[in-house]
Point group: C2
């Protein structure tokens, strides 16, 4: 199935922002689209050539949990620049990371992230490798103060993975856990007991596998709050000052896998002891503006394009509103049906990852659901193997039209099997 999105809204957004980069971005997209229309159905155009220049490619309704959907205009821009980045005669991935061109890309991506989120100057922005999983180790290596256990807010599979590394590298305490509720909600404020002298508090703001999300950030006073935001960073407005350190793999809301964003209060980088490997110290990368060693240049470039796109869409406030309405559409359809059900408590439901089951949790029917959805071009809705059922991930780049298609399919499936 073909997902076709207009560019007019984006153009309007760009004009509102008065950003010529974004405007150019949109205009390029419009040109490509016009070119496509003008060659469509022309029998005198060589078919191979027109296949290449054809943006109306078959595109799936992509609900993957990550790596996940990338905005179509970003992919189109990447395709355009792939063999020759703005007249350099090279692809971005063929450029030295020490070249003026790549340094400009690196800086553009950092500045865009700072502007979009509103990151204060006393916070550093780093682009690293290794994903959230390496951060589970780097955070204690850099921030743990011996004798001061880390306070963990345990909310499922990912905080569990983080604790596996904490066990090796530090000591920790459960400041709250919803394991007894099978992680179907996040802790309530009155369930959290924080130690005043913890090295830091660790949390995961959105639990991709479990389908829960924190709607209020716990206040941790003088103790720095460290958040794994891998699956909801840049999905709505964010107050960085509530956190000491935020990390996120890019592969859900920010771009392709292979680059990890770390936002940290600069003073915290000084905690690491000298015995920590240099490559694993935040201050190494802070000093070198993420260019201490060869960065994943192409992923950094793509993240910059995704950030441009978010800005053209209206920034975090607008994207947050759209994400909320996408999630509402799906949760409402589940509630209204009586046939589907979402096991997650209302206040803890994630706007990013909607988990649901067919009533009674019949696994054979759920298998059929996933298969038939796939045949209809609806991809990536099988639940994680550890929880079963279905899961639809509604990251920034998933258009409302995709959610409408899913809801339509669900109604149809219910009519046929319910």
């Amino acid at each position: 199935m073909v997902v076709a999105l207009g560019c007019l809204a984006r153009l309007a957004a760009a004009q509102r922002f008065g950003d010529s980069g974004i405007l150019e971005f949109c205009l390029t997209r419009a040109r490509v689209r016009i070119a496509a229309i003008s060659t469509e159905g022309r029998s005198d155009v060589n078919p191979s050539a027109s296949a290449l220049s054809q943006p109306a490619t078959k595109r799936a309704f992509n609900f993957n949990a990550g790596p996940a959907a990338i905005p179509l205009p970003v992919l189109e821009r990447v395709r355009e620049e792939l063999l020759d980045y703005r007249g350099t005669g090279m692809s971005v991935m063929e450029m030295s990371h020490r070249s003026a061109e790549f340094e400009a890309i690196n800086e553009h991506t950092e500045k865009s992230l700072r502007r979009l989120i509103g990151i204060p100057e006393d916070y550093a922005v780093l682009f690293l490798q290794g994903g959230g999983s390496l951060q589970f180790a780097m955070v204690p290596m850099n921030l743990y103060l011996p004798g001061k256990p880390v306070d963990v807010l345990h909310t499922g599979s990912w905080t569990s993975k983080a604790m596996e590394e904490l066990k090796k590298l530090a000591t920790y305490r459960l400041a709250a856990s919803t394991e007894a509720s099978k992680f179907m909600r996040v802790p309530r404020a009155d369930e959290i007991t924080l130690a005043p002298d913890a090295s830091y508090v660790f949390m995961c703001t959105n639990n991709t596998i479990d389908g829960t999300e924190w709607n209020e950030t716990p206040a941790t006073g003088a103790v720095p709050l460290v958040a794994d935001m891998s699956s909801n960073i840049c999905s709505r407005p964010l107050d960085v000052r509530q956190f000491g350190l935020i990390f996120s793999g890019a592969q859900k809301n920010l771009g392709p896998s292979g680059v990890t964003v770390v936002i940290l209060r600069r003073d915290l980088a000084e905690r690491a002891g000298d015995k920590v490997a240099k490559i694993l110290q935040y201050r190494t990368h802070m000093k070198e503006h993420s260019l201490y060693h060869t960065p994943p240049t192409f992923a950094v470039y793509m993240m910059g394009l995704v950030l441009d796109w978010i800005e053209a869409e209206g920034g975090l406030a607008a994207i947050g509103k759209r994400n909320a309405s996408k999630a509402k559409l799906l949760y409402d359809a589940i509630e209204a049906s009586g046939y589907y059900q979402c096991p997650i408590e209302h206040d803890s439901r994630s706007r990013m990852n909607v988990v649901f089951r067919v009533a009674g949790g019949d696994e054979a029917i759920e298998k059929k659901f996933v298969q038939e959805a796939e045949a209809a071009g609806i991809i990536g809705i099988k639940g994680h193997r550890s929880v079963g059922g279905m899961r639809a991930s509604l990251y920034n780049a998933v258009p409302p039209e995709a959610v409408e298609a899913l809801v339509g399919f669900m109604r149809d499936f219910e009519r046929r099997k319910g």
Copy 2:
């Protein structure tokens, strides 16, 4: 300037190999080229569309030291598949790393590397993140046996960086060093003194910055030899059995930056103590076939395409022969001129990174050389800031035509300034 390469040789190579994947790869490329020719100069084709489908894009003569040139047919293939990978309706970077499609890509890349190099079954192949710089830390974390100092063969900037991490994580000994010769050669066999009970011996097979390369691999007996092959892996045939562990960032001969190849004898993965972070243990990734956490999926996919390309070019023997003749062309031109000089001893000269100066090492003239070369589309030949002068990196994807263009430019420059 435009670098145009024929596909006939590649087609012949593919037929010789009887590999239908490679054949398809070449045929696709031929089709794209034919399409380009048939639309070239047609005024009735929409210009935007033809710009997109036009493979005869401006391409630089790219001598970057890394990230570096990618084979043009690989970039063309990536561009073709960017919005819809083989009918999935998704880009490779939009797919789950747990999907059947990506698992096939991951396996294809591993198998191609195994076949191309001839990697025995008792060696694991891992695709990690963090480049050679993270390996400088991971190797001692996993392979160091307390009380058994690492033997280092010190040959320049990169072994020096490796020692910075060794200092923090292990103890080491200089088993040889050419620092007194300003790293203008690698150690001779009789200069190396190895301890029989070292944890391992560490070397860098090609020194990107210094312009030297080992032409014989030192015999280390029962002590595992660990090699940083970041800048010459897959540039010529390789006997894996001489090594305990080989690592290499992809960004020179294998693809874009962001993925790191590790080839290690499986038994060595068992050395790591339990206190090593799980994400930093080789055995974690070995057990999970490089899918323990989200891999840099797009870089793994591209590496697979680059390996297909190497195979279609005739494999490591053929590519090694071509690399030798490219290097000979440039070194001979330097020797013959009297105007240029290469400071590196003959037996240690790298076939990957050719460093040279203008006679007398006049920095003002060298600056002019680099500027005028750039104006002529010859990119990336400024020497590393730590050694000065010029450096041309001649990795696999740099075509002989590019070296001819450089040599032609050098002659012309000499005539004008010499």
